[in-house]
Amino acid sequence: MRISPFFIICGVFSIFILAFISFPLAKMILAPPLSSLILALRDGEVTQAIGLSLYTALWASAISFLFGTPLAYILARKEFRGKRFVESVVDVPIVIPHPVIGIAILSAVGQGTVMGEVLRSIGVKIVGSATGIVTVLTFVGAPFYINAVKNAFEMVPVRLERVARTLGASELKAFLLVTFPLSARSALSGLLMCSARAISEFGAVVVVAYHPMTASVLIYERFTSFGLRYSQPVAVLLITISLSIFIALRIITSSRR
């Protein structure tokens, strides 16, 4: 098949952008010797930080799923005054600088605030805790899930739900048996995006909880304290573990198609 000049030009530009993305990543991944990767794997601080990143990202995804799914469904199915405003509120965490998110969270539930004191009185600590990290990660990750699943709900014809209702399904059952199964793949993609965003978050986390350290905070700390050589192995491990999880999930979900 003959390739048109237009596609050749597109291909040249594509190669440029792909190289731009992959070259620094490849350099970083290939830079540390295997021995330093093994050392990093044996370093308790590193494994703990990566474990905390995954654990908090998982919680953030679960919370986004639990509270984001109903919101996405309302936005997909209902027209109401202020809907555009609500949609903009959902998008806010995507567009504002992430340290600002950390500051916003501290302003709402930090020490000395009414909400912060209420939470403290019931034993919930936000600043410098895993709970604080989960709060921040939910804030930054939820919009990715909500938008993905909202678009999926919009793609399911309302008539399918209506038919389900006439066949004896309540609104909840019509949602659970028809709408959600038809949106499940997009919901999972949204959750993956939400988790990916959460794992990679640094700016907001560092404001709310420098300790306990997530992987991205540890990478930053090692970079500023010891330089590039000490931060690279942790970064490579984080990328490898995260990528393996996401690829495995993608394979599992696509094999169920």
Binding site: R162, A164, R165, T166, L167, S170, L182
Partner: protein, 225 residues
């Protein structure tokens, strides 16, 4: 007997009614009207998918007006079939039976009964996207009939099919109506369907019923305007 009394539905600037109708048990009743006359809204209101602002809907004297769709015992088949694409034809037909809590053996018997009635036995393990228009319509009909509805609503049921299949399915529809004894209300803008299928025909225009009568006289009136 299905009785619609002074029904008014209003939403998004559209107004249906006030309209009243009486439809006999087992009757094949046609609502004939042009696009945008409010035919589908009327069907969906009868099914409980829209709440009327005034009026009543009664079946055998029981007031259904405030009942949710799942408690009305009314089936609906849309023009686009609206089969659940993630379920096989069998699971589509079984959907309402499972919700009723019917035991497995009984469900299977009912599926086979409907498969025989509609000639879809060979399609039961197929997914909706692999079915042709006519096959999809039959499966949708079987799904709606499965929970033994008191009333079946057909929204432009045959319009999406090519003329040959449409003619054959029209004959089958009439047969199924007779054999099951279920009351059918079908909305259409096709005069021929009204003449072939209807025991009686109602003419709807701009959200109001203009005339109810035998197929010939109502269609003549429709054409005369």
């Amino acid at each position: 007997m299905i009785e619609i009394k002074d029904l008014v539905v209003e939403f998004d600037g559209f107004s249906l009614g006030p309209l009243s109708l009486k439809i006999g048990k087992g009757e094949f009743f046609i609502i004939l009207g042009p696009t945008g006359a409010g035919k589908t809204v009327l069907l969906e209101t009868i099914a409980g998918l829209y709440r009327p602002s005034k009026g009543q809907i009664l079946i055998e004297g029981e007031d259904l007006t405030s009942l949710p769709p799942e408690r009305r015992g009314i089936g609906i088949v849309y023009q686009d079939y609206s089969l659940f694409p993630h379920l096989t034809a069998r699971r589509n037909i079984e959907f309402g039976l499972r919700l009723k809590g019917m035991p497995k053996g009984e469900r299977e018997r009912r599926i086979q009964e409907l498969a025989q009635l509609l000639g879809i036995g060979h399609l039961l393990d197929r997914y909706p996207p692999t079915l042709s228009g006519g096959e999809g319509q039959r499966v949708a009909l079987a799904r709606a009939l499965a929970p033994r509805p008191r009333l079946l609503l057909l929204d432009e049921h045959l319009s999406a099919l090519d003329p040959k299949i449409r003619e054959r399915l029209a004959g089958e529809l009439k047969r199924i109506n007779r054999e099951t004894g279920v009351t059918f209300i079908m909305v259409t803008h096709e005069i021929k369907e009204a003449l072939v299928l209807g025991d009686r025909v109602a003419l709807i225009r701009d959200g109001r019923i203009e005339q109810v009568g035998g197929p010939e006289e109502t269609v003549a009136s429709f054409l005369g305007q």
